[in-house]
Structure formats: structure tokens, C-alpha cells
């Protein structure tokens, strides 16, 4: 299991609260699966917990993450400048399996959008047709759209209608047309809505409050739809964060 002090190459502001950060180090070469995450230590004794951040893209030994400043931890992460290092654990968790079907629909909202970019790239490279629906609150909060456009057609929704279709991501599913499999990441109400709106096979990625990030503390457990082998729960950090749609109660 990898732990390494990755070197910060850059921080770039994408919207008022969303930042893109590039980090370099040998362990990045092992970050091969989209949907996995890294666990970042941002303070010595405070905050005590690491921050789980999804992998947005990987090029050789350079990792790109895209995060939103939410609280103290991400504020500290944002203070890191080029040349600083970040104690990074990862890759952690189970990521998205790459489909053998011909058309994949990717649906993302908020900070659930970044991990889908690495997925879009890998699907595109193996020849899968990629369609992407990205949901934002308003025009000023849009990010990563051009990056996704390299890999497929992108449909945008905003809650206030200031850009793209007015409404939620599910309102754009009909417009996106036929697909064989879906992948989604974002807040739970969105995951529920996408699961309900789709009759196809799919994968969801959960954003859970985590403790250890490695499966020991049981902070991020989720209930299974159908318990088996006496086990009614899964750990988002280790058994996930990606699950087959319908596997866990969201």
C-alpha cells in the first residue's frame, strides 16, 4: 500500500470554490483505475482525519485532483503551493469497471464530476462511445466541460437555467438518447434519481464521510439492498466507493 509525499506542481482556480491541483510522485503510476481515491493528510494534529479526494486524471507520474473548498481541511489543502508536498495515501478503494458495451452514459454533479473524467478518458480510449451529463447549480459554477468534450458529447444542466438545460441531470437523460450502461457520481439525491430514471445496468460512486479510509474504523458503512453471507453492510472506502447500481441503499 502506497504512502508518499507527492510534490505540488500547480493549483488552478476553476470557479470561486473549485480548484484543480497537480501532484507528482512515483506512486501516481499505480493509480490506474478511475473511481479510486487518494487520502490526503493536510495537517499534523489538526485536522486529525485525512481528506478523501477522487482521482480526476493521471498522466504518467502526475495526478490531477479537483476539489471544492468545503471546510478547514480543504482550506489547508488550498494553501499548498508549487514545490510543497502532500502526504498522500493511495490509490484506495474499488473503482469503476470498464464496460464492454458500446455506449456509456456518465452522469455527474458537483464534486462528483471529477472522477468521471478519468473514466471518460479510459472508456474513449478502448472505443466505447461516451455521453456525459454534467449538473451544476449555475453558470458560474461550471467546470471541466472542455476536458469532457474531448471524449464525447456533453449535456449540461443548471438548476437556475443560466446555462444549458434548466433542471437536474435526470432532465437531460432523454436528450442524451440511447445508452447501454450508466456511471454516476454525485450527491445521494442525484444518485437515487439517476438509479430510478434508468432501466439499464449501472455503477454509482458514493461520497461518504470517512474515517480511516482503509476499512478499519467502520465510519463509512452503507446498507446493502440484499444482505448475503450474513453481511448487511459494505464499507464505502474499501468495498467502494463504486458499487453496482442497486447493490447498496443510497
Amino acid at each position: 500500500m502506497n504512502k508518499e509525499n507527492l510534490t505540488v506542481l500547480s493549483q488552478e482556480k476553476l470557479t470561486s470554490k473549485i480548484f484543480k491541483m497537480k501532484l507528482q510522485g512515483d506512486s501516481v503510476k499505480t493509480m490506474l483505475t478511475p473511481g479510486q481515491f487518494v487520502h490526503l493528510k493536510v495537517g499534523e494534529r489538526h485536522p486529525v482525519l485525512r481528506r478523501p479526494i477522487s482521482i480526476c486524471s493521471v498522466k504518467a507520474d502526475i495526478l490531477t485532483i479537483v476539489y471544492r473548498i468545503e471546510g478547514q481541511g480543504t482550506k489547508l489543502l488550498n494553501q499548498k503551493a508549487a514545490g510543497d508536498t502532500v502526504d498522500t495515501l493511495g490509490p484506495l478503494g474499488k473503482g469503476f469497471p470498464l464496460t464492454q458495451e458500446s455506449t456509456a452514459l456518465l452522469v455527474g454533479g458537483g464534486v462528483g464530476i471529477p472522477p468521471l473524467l478519468y473514466l471518460a478518458e479510459q472508456l474513449y480510449r478502448q472505443g466505447t462511445k461516451v455521453k456525459v451529463i454534467l449538473g451544476y447549480r449555475k453558470k458560474e459554477e461550471i467546470f471541466l466541460v472542455e476536458e469532457f468534450q474531448k471524449y464525447g458529447e456533453v449535456f449540461i444542466t443548471t438548476e437556475d437555467g443560466s446555462y444549458g438545460r434548466k433542471g437536474f441531470v435526470t432532465d437531460a437523460i432523454a436528450e442524451a438518447g440511447a445508452y447501454d450502461v450508466f456511471y454516476t457520481c454525485g450527491p445521494k439525491p442525484m444518485l437515487r434519481a439517476v438509479e430510478t430514471a434508468s432501466t439499464k445496468k449501472g455503477y454509482i460512486s458514493l461520497e461518504e464521510r470517512m474515517g480511516c479510509g482503509v476499512g478499519a474504523c467502520l465510519a463509512c458503512v452503507c446498507d446493502k439492498q440484499k444482505p448475503f453471507e450474513g453481511k448487511a453492510y459494505v464499507k464505502a472506502c474499501r468495498d467502494g466507493p463504486v458499487f453496482e447500481a442497486g447493490e447498496v441503499i443510497v
Binding site: 500500500m1 504512502k3 493528510k41 494534529r45 489538526h46 485536522p47 486529525v48 482525519l49 485525512r50 478547514q72 481541511g73 502526504d87 495515501l89 461518504e208 464521510r209 470517512m210 474515517g211 480511516c212 479510509g213 482503509v214 476499512g215 478499519a216 474504523c217 467502520l218 465510519a219 463509512c220 458503512v221 452503507c222 450474513g230 453481511k231 448487511a232 453492510y233 474499501r238
Partner: protein, 310 residues
């Protein structure tokens, strides 16, 4: 004898550092990071007679230099643990301290009887201090009479020494310690977490689904040090000290307060390599301090001694 070696009832430890119960699962996750043989002992997650699903999520919330948890003793039940979790640990030459909990005295007796019969369990730890369950746990740990009765009952059935994990959420922790010592406890673990709460000011509601949780991490360290300082002067059984230990210096402080071994909890979450790092640093630090065995430091803060530390 090495500088780090310590001997406690049932626990012959090559160094005084063990991961704390509930912060290390049953060891498998952390074994992916380092060789568990490095550890002085392992305190495994609490076992109850029945399968426990634990509390709803969110189960953790961060606070200033600490965290609140309300996992709620989720575990697969003592039978499953004895059959599936403990055997996996047999390949390591590390004593195991098995934490047990229950709703009733009968629960504790059943868990103690079953788990203490496992070949690689060297001691049991009575969890009478979990603040996150409605029944059992803390009720046994806040009444000296009940704690003593439970200790006596478990001592009767346990095949290995019994440690009682004390709660800081009491008016007089010394009274609790004296009561369980008189009832036959072989050692004490202290402290469990402090009951706390964090409110999300955006929703106006407590963050934890359980509303309250147990506070751990560097924020509780001074409380633990004070309680060990007080209790160790009144009992003659050894104390496994815990509460916000992050560094080798912290370990020294706990020993000076009166501990004979230590457990590391929250620090494992900050850094999965916390325990081996502390063990390495501790050896260096003791060498610098010219201490031939760490046990010499137990109770330094209150014992009178002739030779001062150089």
C-alpha cells in the same frame, strides 16, 4: 531485556505500543501497510455475543484536534470473530487483547468465555465505557458496584487476565478503578472517549446520527494524563494508557503519568504507519534519555526517586 520490552498480566510485549480497540479492526487492513509483528500487542475491535449493526451514519465528525465517533460497537458477533477473525492473526507473534461488550452481565460472560478460549487471545478488555450504545457499555462503567460485580463475574469464566477499560465520563474515576481492582481486575485501560457533540451550523442539527459521540485524538490527551496520574497512585494493577497519543514523546508522558503500556487510536487514521513510527522513535528517544527500560518511567511524575533523569 530491551529498552522497549514490558511485561503485563497476560501480555508479554516486545514494546509497549498497541493499536487501540476499535481503531484497528482485526488487523487485516493495517497488515497491508506493515508487518504486524512490529507491534507490542493488538487490541481488536469489541465483540458482543450477537451481530451488531452499529449506529446510522454519519458516524464520525471532526473537532478541534480531535474527532467524535459513534460507530456503536458494530461487529460480526463473538462466534464469527473467534472462527474467522482471530485465526488470521495467529501467524503474528503478537499478543492479543480482546475487547468485549454487552447489554447484560450474561452477555459479557458469554463473550469472555468464548473469546478467552481462543489460543491467541492473551487477555480480555472489558468495555464498560462505550458512550455510543443505549444499553450496556457505559452503565456498567459509571457505577462502581456494577463494574465490580461484572469484573468478578467475568474473572470467574475468563481463561486469561482481565483488563477493565474505564470511562472518563464519571465523577470519580479513581473510585471506579479501586472497585474493579478489588473485584479482581488484572489491569486497567484508560481512557475511553469523552462524550461530545458537534452541530452543523448550516442545518442546525448535530452532525452525528447518534447526536453524541466519543471524543478522541490530541484534544483529550491532557484529560487522559491527569486521570492516569490520579488512578495509578491508588491502584497496584498496571494501566494501559490511551487518549490522543501521536508521538514517542506522548508515550513517555503517559508512562510518567503512571502507565505501563500504551494504546494508539486516532493517530492510526491520520497515518496508518503511526504505531511503527512511534515504536521506532521511542527506542531512539529512550536511548537519548539514557533509560535502560521504559518501565523505569512508570509513575515518574509522582514517585519519589533517587536518580534524576539525565
Amino acid at each position: 531485556m530491551s529498552r522497549l520490552q514490558v511485561e503485563l498480566p497476560g501480555l508479554n510485549m516486545k514494546n509497549p505500543v498497541m493499536p487501540a480497540s476499535g481503531c484497528f479492526g482485526f488487523g487485516q487492513e493495517y497488515a497491508e501497510f506493515y508487518d504486524l509483528n512490529k507491534l507490542g500487542a493488538v487490541a481488536v475491535k469489541a465483540a458482543t455475543p450477537e451481530i451488531r449493526a452499529g449506529n446510522p451514519t454519519p458516524r464520525v465528525a471532526e473537532t478541534e484536534s480531535g474527532m467524535l465517533n459513534a460507530i456503536g460497537l458494530q461487529n460480526p458477533g463473538v462466534d464469527h470473530i473467534v472462527k474467522n477473525e482471530l485465526p488470521w492473526l495467529e501467524k503474528f507473534h503478537v499478543p492479543i487483547l480482546a475487547n468485549i461488550a454487552g447489554k447484560t452481565e450474561e452477555d459479557y460472560i458469554e463473550a469472555a468465555r468464548k473469546i478467552s478460549a481462543s489460543s491467541n487471545v492473551h487477555a480480555v478488555e472489558l468495555n464498560v465505557s462505550c458512550p455510543n450504545v443505549k444499553e450496556g457499555g457505559l452503565q456498567f462503567g459509571s457505577d462502581p458496584g456494577m463494574a465490580a460485580g461484572l469484573t468478578k463475574a467475568v474473572k470467574k469464566v475468563s481463561e486469561v487476565p482481565v483488563y477493565v477499560k474505564l470511562s472518563p465520563n464519571v465523577t470519580n474515576i479513581t473510585e471506579m478503578a479501586e472497585a474493579v481492582e478489588a473485584a479482581g481486575a488484572d489491569g486497567l485501560s484508560m481512557i475511553n472517549t469523552l462524550v461530545g457533540m458537534k452541530i452543523d451550523i448550516r442545518t442546525g442539527k448535530p452532525i452525528l446520527a447518534n447526536k453524541t459521540g466519543g471524543l478522541s485524538g490530541p484534544a483529550v490527551k491532557p484529560v487522559a494524563v491527569r486521570m492516569i496520574y490520579e488512578v495509578s497512585q491508588k491502584v497496584s494493577i498496571p494501566i494501559i494508557g490511551m487518549g490522543g497519543i501521536y508521538t514517542a514523546e506522548d508515550v513517555i508522558e503517559f508512562f510518567m503519568a503512571g502507565a505501563s503500556a500504551v494504546a494508539v487510536g486516532t493517530a492510526n487514521f491520520s497515518d496508518p504507519f503511526a504505531c511503527p513510527q512511534i515504536i521506532d522513535d521511542l527506542d531512539e528517544l529512550l536511548k537519548e534519555m539514557n533509560v535502560s527500560n521504559i518501565s523505569e518511567l512508570t509513575g515518574r511524575s509522582w514517585k519519589s526517586w533517587e536518580k534524576s533523569l539525565s
